[in-house]
């Protein structure tokens, strides 16, 4: 007799899952690199392409890696926030200019202000692939030991900076300084 209740039982379980699934963020993908060593890179600099910048230069201290492009509206949106964060001099911000035009990028930084300690020029997107980048803007927090501890997809806001990044910076900072 009880087997006639199986269909409605299964249906109820299904509804419960749907309820749990509603309203979840579909756009953002979790990064498999959290907790792993940040991929090393060596790329030409946007301000002076004859020189290179490498991840080695920042070993031993925490830093932010911000992926951007002049073609990306969200990056324009977060640019002022980045300038604000840079002014607070908590950690250096390294820019990764992704699949961009060099001249446009240089003009962008000249005209809008340069929040970056240095900007790397990833014209072919290989470094971006290594970092698992799929949509600009993306911002990574790397700790002093060179591990990626946080990733944010989408334009930064001061709230996100204070709620997501600052606590993690404090945690890694105090452990290493």
């Amino acid at each position: 007799m009880w087997r006639y209740l199986i269909p409605i039982g299964l249906f109820g379980a299904l509804l419960a899952f749907f309820y749990l699934g509603l309203g979840r963020d579909q756009q953002t993908l979790p990064s498999p690199l959290i907790g792993k060593p940040a991929p090393a890179f060596e790329l030409p600099r946007v301000d002076d392409p004859s020189r290179t910048v490498s991840s080695q230069e920042f070993a031993g201290r925490p830093y932010l890696l911000n992926v951007w492009g002049t073609w990306c509206p969200g990056c324009r949106q977060e640019h002022d926030v980045l300038l604000d964060i840079a002014r607070r001099t908590v950690v250096p911000i390294i820019g990764l200019d992704w699949k961009d035009d060099l001249e446009l990028a240089q003009r962008w930084l000249r005209e809008l202000g340069d929040p970056y300690a240095v900007t790397a020029f990833d014209s072919e997107g290989r470094v971006a692939i290594d970092w698992g980048v799929y949509g600009a803007p993306e911002t990574f927090l790397v700790d002093a030991a060179g591990r990626i501890v946080h990733k944010h997809v989408g334009p930064l806001t001061i709230d996100i900076w204070e709620e997501e990044f600052m606590p993690k910076i404090a945690a890694t900072g105090s452990a290493n300084e």
Binding site: Q27, L29, P32, G74, E124, R126, I129, G132, Y134, P155
Partner: protein, 143 residues
């Protein structure tokens, strides 16, 4: 904000000028077949309803190039898929990797077939012992 991102993705992805390379990736048909198979198993992360073989997103073109280079470097299919998985997670693979959380998914086809057949056998065995018709509702007969 998510809406803006979604709109941007949609704008890139809803146009269907498919990811047409300027030339076949490999002259060797065996390598070309591997390239085609792999690019059809990887999901484009910008145009998420397409494989990187069919997507026109710039990321798809970059990942196709990466696949080509890895094949040319002699990597096996498993190594190439692992390369992508390490950077983008399980999401990038259209064939879900076998792990405890996907055991149910992968076991389901055989389990349902076997279970269904077993249940059918039990029911048929029972039914074969019953009389031909039910006097309450003999059915309308015919062919």
């Amino acid at each position: 904000m998510r809406l803006l991102l979604a709109a941007l993705f949609l704008a890139v992805c809803m146009h269907d000028a498919h990811a047409i390379d300027a030339a076949p990736a490999f002259d060797d048909p065996a390598l070309q077949a591997r390239y085609e198979r792999l690019t059809h198993e990887l999901r484009c992360l910008q145009c998420r309803s397409e494989t990187i073989a069919d997507s026109n997103a710039s990321l798809a073109a970059d990942l196709r190039r990466q696949t080509r280079e890895l094949i040319a470097a002699g990597k096996s299919d498993a190594e190439i898929l692992q390369f992508m998985q390490d950077r983008y997670g399980d999401y990038v693979l259209y064939s879900p990797p076998l792990a405890p959380r996907t055991w149910l998914l992968w076991a389901a086809p055989i389990a349902l077939l076997a279970g269904g057949m077993a249940a059918a056998v039990v029911v048929i065995a029972r039914k074969s012992r019953l009389p031909d018709t039910d006097p309450n509702d003999p059915g309308l007969g015919g062919s």
